[in-house]
C-alpha cells in the first residue's frame, strides 16, 4: 500500500533508538506521554487484573465441582463471583483491547506520531489506576456481593461496600470516556496524508466505532452509578420502591450503558480478527466496506436493544417485543462479519502462525456465541433461558471466546512489533490448542446446564446437574493451563526470543512499516498512503484466478 519515501537526509541519520530504550528510568515511564509506553502500562495493568479475576473464576468453578458447599460459604461465593464479574468487565475487558492494544497500534496504523491528546491519554491511564485501587479497596471494606450489575434494591440494602465499588466503576467510566474522546479525535484528525476513510485498516474502524460508543454511552453509566450512590447514602427514592421509586428503572438506566458496553468489549476483537485473517492468508479482506460499515451500524444499533436484558424483568411486554425485534436487527451486521472473514480465507495462502490459530479459534467460538445469542433474542425461548447457565455460556463465548481469544491473537500478532522479539511458535500453538479445548469444555456444557434449567449465581445446586458441572470445572482447569502457557510464551519471548524483523508477517498496513520496536516518534518521515492496507504483494493481479 504505502511507500515510505525516505529523503536522503533521513537515510544518512544513524539508527534512532526504539521507544523502549530512548529514555530510561522509572520516571521516564511514569510521566511518559508516548502512546506506546502508555499502551504497555495499560497492558501490564489489564493483564494483572485478568490474572486476578481469572483465578477467582477458577475458585468459583472448583466450588461448583460438587452440588453442596465445599470450601466457600454462600456469602463468600457471592462476593467472589461479584468481584470476578466487576474486575473482568471494568478493569480488564473494557480497557484491554482499546486502551492497551489500541493505544499501541492506533497511531502506528494511522501513520501518526501520537494520539491527538497525549497528556489526556496518560491522565486516563492514571484515572484507570485510581478506579482499580478503589475496586480493590472494596476487598478490605467487606467486599461486594451485588453482582457486577448492582441491581437495586439489593444494592441498596446489602451491607457490603457498594459505594466504594460503584465509585470505582464510576471513575473507570471517566477513564473510558477520555480514551474514547482521544481515539475519535485521533482517527478524525491524525490520519497520515492519503489515508482516506476507505483506506483505513479495519482495526481502526473497529476502534473508532468502539470509541464512539464509549463517548456516547459511558456518561449514562456515570449518572446511573451517581444516582445509585446518592440513593444509597441519602435515600432520595428514585429506585427504591419503599420510598416511591421503581427498581426496574435502574435496569433501564444500567443497560442503556451496559448493552452498548458489550460492543465496547467485542468490536475491537472484530478489528483484530479482520487484521489476522488477512495478513496470515495474504488475502485482501472480503467485503471491506461491509465490515467497516457494519462496525458503525453495530455501534448505533447497540443503543436500541438494551431491553433484551429485561424480557422477564417486569418491563412491559410491548417494549419487550420492540426490543426483541431490534435485537434481531443487530444480528445481521454481525453475521455479515463472520461470513466475510470466512470468505477471506477463500483462495488465500494460509500460514498457520499462532495468531492465525487464534483467529480460527475465534471464528469457531464467536460463531457459537453469536448463534446462541439468537436463542436469547427470541422472546419465548428467552423466558426459559434467561438468568440460567445458558446466558452464562453465551456471554462467555462472546467475551472470552470472542474478545479474549482475539486479544491473545492480537498480542501474538503485535508482540514482535511491541518488543522486537519473536515468540516460540510451538509453545504458541500448544497454548491455542489448550485454550480451544479448555474453553469449549468449560462453556459448551453450560449451554446444556442452562437448557436443563440450572439458574445462575447458585453456589449449591440440585444433584442432577452434578456431572455437567464437573465436566465444566475440569475444562476450566485446562483453560487455565492454556492461558498460563500464553503468558509464559509471551514473557519468554521478551527476554529470550529471537530478534524480530520489522515486518515478520509480511503485512502491508503502516504499523509494520517502521522498525520493531518502533522509534519514539513512530516514523522517520511523514508517510503518504496511496492504497488499501490489504494490498498484499502475493495477490495475483494477472487474472490467473478465475
Amino acid at each position: 500500500m504505502s511507500k515510505s519515501k525516505e529523503t536522503p537526509a533521513a537515510k544518512a541519520n544513524a539508527p534512532e533508538p526504539s521507544y523502549l530504550t530512548a529514555k530510561s528510568g522509572l520516571m521516564s515511564w511514569l510521566v511518559t506521554v508516548d502512546h506506546k509506553r502508555i499502551g504497555l502500562m495499560y497492558l501490564a495493568a489489564t493483564l494483572f487484573f485478568f490474572l486476578v479475576a481469572g483465578l477467582l473464576a477458577i475458585a468459583l468453578r472448583t466450588e461448583l465441582y460438587t452440588p453442596t458447599q465445599d470450601f466457600m460459604s454462600a456469602a463468600t461465593y457471592n462476593k467472589v463471583f461479584t468481584l470476578h464479574g466487576a474486575i473482568m468487565v471494568f478493569l480488564f475487558i473494557i480497557p484491554s483491547v482499546p486502551a492497551a492494544l489500541g493505544n499501541f497500534i492506533l497511531p502506528l496504523m494511522l501513520g501518526a506520531k501520537d494520539v491527538a491528546f497525549p497528556k489526556l491519554n496518560l491522565l486516563s491511564f492514571y484515572i484507570y489506576c485510581i478506579a482499580a485501587v478503589m475496586l480493590v479497596t472494596t476487598l478490605f471494606l467487606g467486599s461486594l456481593d451485588t453482582g457486577w450489575t448492582f441491581y437495586t434494591p439489593y444494592s441498596k440494602s446489602t451491607g457490603t461496600a457498594v459505594i466504594m465499588a460503584t465509585m470505582g466503576a464510576f471513575v473507570a467510566g471517566f477513564s473510558s470516556i477520555l480514551t474514547g474522546v482521544n481515539f475519535v479525535v485521533t482517527v478524525h484528525k491524525m490520519r497520515a496524508p492519503g489515508m482516506t476513510w476507505n483506506r483505513m485498516p479495519l482495526m481502526i474502524w473497529a476502534i473508532y466505532a468502539t470509541a464512539l460508543i464509549q463517548v456516547m454511552a459511558t456518561p449514562v453509566l456515570a449518572i446511573t452509578l451517581f444516582l445509585l450512590i446518592i440513593e444509597r447514602t441519602l435515600n432520595i427514592g428514585i429506585f427504591d420502591p419503599a420510598l416511591g421509586g421503581d427498581p426496574v428503572l435502574y435496569q433501564h438506566f444500567f443497560w442503556f450503558y451496559s448493552h452498548p458496553a458489550v460492543y465496547i468489549m467485542i468490536l475491537p476483537g472484530f478489528g483484530i480478527i479482520s487484521e489476522l485473517v488477512t495478513v496470515h492468508s495474504r488475502k485482501h479482506i472480503f467485503g471491506y466496506r461491509a465490515i467497516a460499515l457494519s462496525s458503525v451500524a453495530i455501534a448505533v444499533i447497540s443503543f436500541i436493544v438494551w431491553g433484551h436484558h429485561m424480557f422477564v424483568s417486569g418491563q412491559s411486554e410491548l417494549a419487550g417485543i420492540v426490543f426483541s425485534f431490534l435485537t434481531f436487527a443487530v444480528a445481521v451486521p454481525t453475521a455479515i462479519k463472520v461470513f466475510s472473514w470466512v470468505a477471506t480465507l477463500y483462495g488465500g495462502s494460509i500460514r498457520f502462525n499462532t495468531p492465525m490459530w487464534y483467529a480460527l479459534v475465534f471464528l469457531w467460538t464467536f460463531t457459537v456465541g453469536g448463534l446462541t445469542g439468537v436463542y436469547l433474542g427470541t422472546l419465548s425461548v428467552d423466558v426459559h433461558l434467561h438468568d440460567t447457565y445458558f446466558v452464562v455460556a453465551h456471554f462467555h463465548y462472546v467475551m472470552v471466546g470472542g474478545t479474549v481469544v482475539a486479544f491473545i491473537g492480537g498480542l501474538f500478532h503485535w508482540w514482535p512489533k511491541m518488543f522486537g522479539r519473536m515468540f516460540n511458535e510451538t509453545a504458541g500453538k500448544i497454548s491455542a490448542l489448550l485454550v480451544f479445548i479448555g474453553f469449549n469444555t468449560t462453556f459448551m456444557t453450560q449451554f446444556f446446564l442452562g437448557h436443563q434449567g440450572m439458574p445462575r449465581r447458585y453456589y449449591a445446586y440440585l444433584p442432577e446437574y452434578e456431572v455437567m458441572h464437573q465436566v465444566s470445572t475440569i475444562g476450566s482447569w485446562i483453560l487455565m493451563v492454556g492461558l498460563f502457557t500464553v503468558l509464559g510464551t509471551l514473557l519468554h519471548a521478551i527476554k529470550y526470543g529471537a530478534k524480530a524483523p520489522s515486518n515478520p508477517w509480511g503485512a502491508v498496513s503502516l504499523d509494520w512499516q517502521t522498525a520493531s520496536p518502533p522509534i519514539e516518534h513512530n516514523f522517520h518521515d511523514t508517510i503518504h498512503v496511496t492504497g488499501s492496507p490489504y494490498d498484499f504483494p502475493e495477490i495475483d493481479k494477472s487474472g490467473a484466478h478465475h
Binding site: 501518526a112 479525535v185 435515600n235
Partner: protein
C-alpha cells in the same frame, strides 16, 4: 509526490505540539475533542432529566405540588444571569479572535462575575429550602416544618437537589476554568491565531448554560 519530513526546519509556532503537523490540525483536534466532551455532558445530564420525567409520569400531582415550593423569581433571575454570562463569553471569544486584548479580559471578568452571582442566588435558595426542611432523602422534613406537601414529595426534592447540585458543581468548575483562562489572557497568551483554549472554555460554559435552560422551566415553572 514528495514527503514532508518531520525533521524539516519549518517554522513551528511555540504553541504547536510536537505530534501535530499544522496549527490547523491542532486547533481542529482540540475543538472536536471539546465537542465530544460536550456530548458526554449532554448524555450525562439526560439521565437526570429522564429521572425527572419518570417521577413526573409516576406522580404528576406530586411534582406540580412540590414544585410550587421553589422560588420562581430566583430561578428566573439566575436564568438571566447565566444567559448574560453566555453572551459575554461569546463576546470574549470574539475579542480573542479579533486580537482585542482589553475586551477579552473584560468579558471574561464579567462572565466569572455572573457565575458568582449565580452561585450566590443559589446559596440563598438552598438556605431557604434548608430552613423549611425541604431537603433530599434522609433530611427531608417538610412535615416537621409544618408543610403539607403531597406524598412522595421527598422524591421531587431529591431530584431537584441532584439536578441543581450537579449543575452547581459544573458552575464551580466553570469558575475555575474561566479564572485559569483569564490568567492566561492576562499573560497575553491568546491572539487571533491561538485562541482555541478560550473557545473551548466558552463551549463548556455554554453547555452549563444549556443545561440550565432546560432545568429552569422543568423544575420551577411547569404546571
Amino acid at each position: 509526490m514528495s514527503s514532508t519530513s518531520a525533521h524539516d526546519d519549518e517554522e513551528r509556532p511555540w504553541f504547536l505540539a510536537h505530534h501535530f503537523d499544522t496549527v490547523g490540525q491542532q486547533v481542529s483536534a482540540a475543538k472536536l475533542g471539546m465537542w465530544l466532551f460536550c456530548c458526554t455532558e449532554v448524555l450525562m445530564f439526560s439521565g437526570l432529566f429522564l429521572a425527572y420525567f419518570i417521577i413526573r409520569t409516576l406522580y404528576p400531582e406530586m411534582v406540580l405540588g412540590a414544585s410550587e415550593e421553589l422560588n420562581k423569581t430566583a430561578g428566573g433571575v439566575n436564568t438571566i444571569v447565566l444567559l448574560t454570562s453566555s453572551f459575554t463569553m461569546a463576546l470574549g471569544v470574539r475579542a480573542a479572535q479579533t486580537n482585542n486584548q482589553k475586551a477579552l479580559e473584560r468579558n471574561l471578568l464579567i462572565t466569572i462575575a455572573c457565575a458568582f452571582i449565580f452561585m450566590i442566588v443559589k446559596y440563598f435558595e438552598y438556605t431557604a429550602k434548608i430552613e423549611h426542611g425541604l431537603l433530599p432523602g434522609n433530611w427531608y422534613a417538610a412535615a416537621e416544618h409544618g408543610y403539607m406537601l403531597p406524598k412522595y414529595s421527598r422524591v421531587f426534592f431529591g431530584v431537584y437537589f441532584t439536578m441543581t447540585g450537579l449543575h452547581g458543581v459544573h458552575v464551580l468548575v466553570g469558575i475555575g476554568v474561566l479564572s485559569w483562562i483569564f490568567i492566561r489572557a492576562r499573560r497575553r497568551e491568546f491572539n487571533s491565531e491561538n485562541y482555541v483554549a478560550v473557545e473551548n472554555a466558552g463551549l463548556y460554559w455554554h453547555i452549563v448554560d444549556l443545561v440550565w435552560i432546560f432545568l429552569f422551566p422543568l423544575l420551577y415553572l411547569v404546571k
